[in-house]
Symmetry: C2
Subunit: 271 residues, 2 copies
Amino acid sequence: MHKIDTFVFLLSIQLGKKKPLILVTNDDSINAAGIKVLINTMCEIGDVVVVAPDSPQSGMGHAITLDSPLRLKEIKATGHKEYICSGTPVDCVKLAVNVVLQRKPDLLVSGINHGSNASINVIYSGTMSAAVEGALEGIPAIGFSLLDYAQDADFSVVQKYVKIIAQNALDKGMPRRTCINVNFPSIPEEQLKGVRVCRQANGNWQEEFDVREDPTGKKYYWLTGVFVNYDKGKDTDEWALANGYVSIVPVQYDLTAHHAVPFLNEWSYEI
Amino acid sequence: MHKIDTFVFLLSIQLGKKKPLILVTNDDSINAAGIKVLINTMCEIGDVVVVAPDSPQSGMGHAITLDSPLRLKEIKATGHKEYICSGTPVDCVKLAVNVVLQRKPDLLVSGINHGSNASINVIYSGTMSAAVEGALEGIPAIGFSLLDYAQDADFSVVQKYVKIIAQNALDKGMPRRTCINVNFPSIPEEQLKGVRVCRQANGNWQEEFDVREDPTGKKYYWLTGVFVNYDKGKDTDEWALANGYVSIVPVQYDLTAHHAVPFLNEWSYEI
């Protein structure tokens, strides 16, 4: 072989050998069943570093910790590196990228969340906000969720899809300034019909506050509610999940409602 | 006049008399200077109810409180109703709509935030998340921010624009499923050139963590960083603010990156 061919050959072996670096996080905390499944699955395809919250952070959205310092602690793990953080899921991503990791990871995966992050849940979800933060850092990023709150939920079929979807992201990357929101219906494998790429359904929570009185007679309020899907479209994540499909929604952090610009240009701004 | 005409005439008088119901909130807490300016300005055009956090909630994004109960307390105020809440800005909106108010408000205003919520700050901002939550509830909603962190910042010119923009929203409503993000440059009135309707600039924070040791020798981390604007466009909020304009960006909560759907449909999902 010529010198140049030998170089390319050796390089390709080198590249072939090098495992991708995968950052794992979630919002249900390091102690959740879902993140353990995700770590095990990612260890099959890459070098894994986990930076996850030390306590549950569900519903934290894109919150960051500004008014108090963060703690970060390495804990013993077999086959991968694992850290716990006192902050939110987004704090975990920022600490991972800026403090823990020596280089930008090839992939960020968040979850597997216990419960749906379809439709409007995406904006309340710490799981998805961690993925969005990854996209902001230019990292291909995926949030995974299973529509089952049980700690002993069956992740066996989910695991297969998680692996193939993560591998796609590693091989093909992600469109710029986006990440993906993957939700799994909680149904047996034989009923699962495949994957649908969708849009976010137009739905919302109808809240009711559970009002109680503490022992001193003062009122306090628990947030409760039911999710309502207003969207009749068959191209939505809610439709896909209700009809036996895994839903994938590409998510962006440019929130500009471009269609509303002409409307606002009609307003009068004379003071 | 005929009976029907009389009825319409009296109804129009009645409607003309009825002041709009305006919900005011923020993320800097009830004690911030910005919300006091906003309350005073809104009292000039409507019946005001304030539900604001009892402590600072900057950077809380769209966080909601799921794992602990919320407290809500009415406090004495002159000319309007005022409540403080132990939760996040989004909690405040949910409590206002579902517990405090007898009917859906005609307008929700959030702020005036001390510091910029332009560009990517929109996703970290509790001020803007409160406005987004308003949009989700079908309420015309506006987040206001002044690019000045000082508690004694000069809001005099800001106040004039806040009034005219709020009046526009009351008169004309908002495009469905959107709210608006209004930022003011911190410059004297004579340098202010007017208002620009913009898109969100493509920018991001480059974080650095300030690492310190506590008295027992354990490390802790403070989040710090600098904002970097990657966007050269003259149609962005960052451009407007840097060039002496008030920026208005319409904001949506449908995060679907529609342009990325074909890309994801090319992936292989065979397990």
